[in-house]
Symmetry: C2
Subunit: 264 residues, 2 copies
């Protein structure tokens, strides 16, 4: 994500210096693919940068924020690309000067990580959520770059963001994982009759738990709420099936699914 943001900034006309802070192999890859201009230590990068972009797993972002604090230039902005926002924004509020952090969540991603897979077009047409704290003015410069890299900015509080993604992303993930885990446990050979619908419904189940551990841990209350709603909904589906009246569910579901696609 960090590499794609760097390439997207360049393509959008950013002509400043881009330094990378990462492990030696990741830095080597980023230099080889011309994704960064130079490597730097965290403290040096923090002291030098106008914009610091934290593209790490959520737990690492939360660990990094206090390390930035002593080095940060006045007027510099820290942002991030973490998939949940409440825990990260709370860490920033605790450790960084007011107004110097603005949480972000680009709704884009690739299955392959690393600078070799970085893609300047990754954000095009995708939502990019920015989550100012209540009362915090929007950072117009970051908002401008989000627009220039082709993303669709969405502004929400960290709480609103986490509630939205619990429903739009975390619940679908858990439904896909639960379906695949359930079918994995059956003695019969489902795969021999699998069609494209089952492939669609199990694609998210391919996800790596390493990414999801932090997401689930930092959005547990919202996810439990939406999971409970889903279990209730399936109980209603069960009752409706027993009495042959699923037509309304199909109509509501089809209407929602069609509306999603008109937004694309």
């Amino acid at each position: 994500m960090g590499g794609s943001f760097a390439l997207a900034l360049r393509r959008a006309g950013f002509d400043g210096r881009i330094v990378g802070v990462s492990s030696p192999p990741a830095i080597e890859e980023a230099l080889r693919h011309n994704v960064i201009d130079a490597p730097a230590a965290l403290s040096d990068a923090a002291a030098e940068a106008d914009l610091i972009y934290l593209a790490q797993p959520i737990a690492r972002i939360i660990e990094t924020i206090p390390k930035l604090a002593p080095h940060l230039k006045p007027g510099a902005l820290v942002t991030d690309a973490g998939s949940t926002k409440r825990a990260i924004c709370a860490a920033a509020a605790a450790h960084l000067p007011a107004g110097q952090f603005l949480g972000g969540h680009p709704m884009a991603g690739k299955e392959v990580r690393g600078a070799g897979a970085a893609d300047a077009a990754l954000f095009e047409g995708r939502p990019y959520v920015l989550t100012p704290a209540p009362g915090q003015p929007m950072n117009e410069e970051l908002l401008g770059w989000v627009r220039r890299i082709g993303a669709r900015p969405v502004v929400a509080t960290p709480e609103e963001h986490d509630r939205l993604v619990a429903a739009s992303s975390h619940l679908p993930q858990l439904l896909s994982t639960a379906l695949a885990a359930l079918l994995a446990g059956r003695p019969d050979d489902i795969a021999q009759v699998a069609g494209p619908g089952l492939l669609d419904m199990t694609r998210l189940a391919l996800s790596d738990y390493g990414i999801w551990r932090d997401i689930l841990a930092t959005n547990r209350a919202e996810i439990l709420a939406v999971l409970d709603a889903a279990i209730t909904q399936l109980g209603e589906t069960r009752a409706a099936l027993a009495s042959s009246s699923l037509e309304e569910d199909f109509a509501r579901g089809a209407g929602f699914a069609a509306a999603l696609r008109r937004r694309e």
Copy 2:
């Protein structure tokens, strides 16, 4: 489906006569697209045909079977393309001479119906389930044509078929519909942050209830059983989430999803 089967037979080298039984507009479309050689009344087609292919909604297939009985040539075979098999095979067992019916379910389909959308390549690489009654010998001629049109034959009893598709097709449909119906009822604007995962998980929800009514009605017991298993699984997901131990579910789900894709 009937039109695609006719075109696929032709492409695979079938040089006999293909007549169509349908409504006047459907017949007109089938003739215009050279999908059939001629129209016929049901009784005439039944008296003349070596193979009768019932490509109708499930309830219509069940209505048609007894109408065929008085006209059927000795040695002729009736097959069908219905999405559930127990109810259809039971109707055939009640009304047709033993050995003259062999249930079928090609796991292929298009969103658009009618002869204008017929596709000779529709069955290529897709499973095609054939469901002989217990003790019924396989009809080698139909099996041969299923292979020649490029499908992957799968032999199962009607009961095994319905249990398999309850898990591989009907449950995924109901999960997608339940997810989309649940999200449709939320006051917040999910669509503004929807990513490709949510689009995958709601594609099946676009399905028309008109198709699903008969499927749900003729496979209710199996669907209720697998829906109960899914509700139990989600309850376990909920409990695991509360205690942070979802890693095993993710691993099992990812393993199943990856195995499905190796079969493709």
